[in-house]
């Protein structure tokens, strides 16, 4: 019984977090100008289409931006991991004079 209550609470919390995502996908599938505010818009699935996706991909450079994000993310991650690892190694294993001040 207690486990069931916990499960229900967990599902409700999860729904709370997923709700904006669902709203995002639903709005993106509606035709231009229809914002999903009322309950009727939520349950009316007859006007869903993918025109917005075609329009966004064709008219803007969003795929290019995704590629830029990816390049920057990978470069930042790889270089900073190596640099952080070097710094961590020196702070952890090498003796030098100001070590105690710079890292506890």
């Amino acid at each position: 019984m207690k486990k069931l209550a916990l499960n229900i609470a967990a599902v409700l919390l999860a729904l709370l977090f997923v709700f904006p995502l669902i709203w995002m996908f639903l709005t993106s599938l509606k035709p231009d100008g229809v914002n999903v505010y009322t309950l009727a818009d939520w349950v009316n699935w007859s006007d869903l289409n993918t025109d917005n996706y075609v329009k966004v991909i064709r008219d803007s450079q969003i795929l290019h931006w995704t590629w830029n994000s990816l390049v920057i993310g990978v470069l930042t991650t790889v270089i900073s991991i190596l640099l952080s690892s070097l710094a961590a190694f020196s702070f952890s294993k090498l003796p030098f004079r100001t070590r105690g001040y710079s890292m506890c």
Binding site: V56, I62, W65, I72, A87, F89
Partner: protein, 167 residues
Amino acid sequence: MLIVSGLLIPTEAILIPLYETALHLQLIDNIWAIILPGLTNPIGILLLKQFMDGVPRDYIEAAQIDGSRSFRLWWSICLPLTRSAMVSVGIFFFILSWNNFLWPYLAITSEENMILSAGLPTFLSNNNMSLNLIMTASAIAAIPTILVFILLQRHIVQGVAMSGVKG
């Protein structure tokens, strides 16, 4: 102490000096303007240092007796032994970089160099109150992230639990 105190400085506080520096280095509107400030992160150093402390002193001494110098100690001993920690920290860094908004928004001026988070607001303007296009763009931006999260769920949850900071 000094390194950890770097955690206390918010990005907003260093925006103007950062912009001046990037301007004088002629890095505005260049992807390196976004990469370079992200390279040093106190959290990464702190976390990896804790993991390096777990590498036994005996390994280091044995390697030193065999004639290794500092770089070799790092490359051949500490790097392989802390690989799992580095994966977690790496995922954390990637999330930080992917979600970063304010500095990329200021540093990039032309459309073709924009990154995803900075490009999303271009779909909203004063005379266009329709939410459909920006929601579509957000969905396109979210789909790869959700896929990667589903694939790497275990590592990401581990990394967030370890560092105690959510991107």
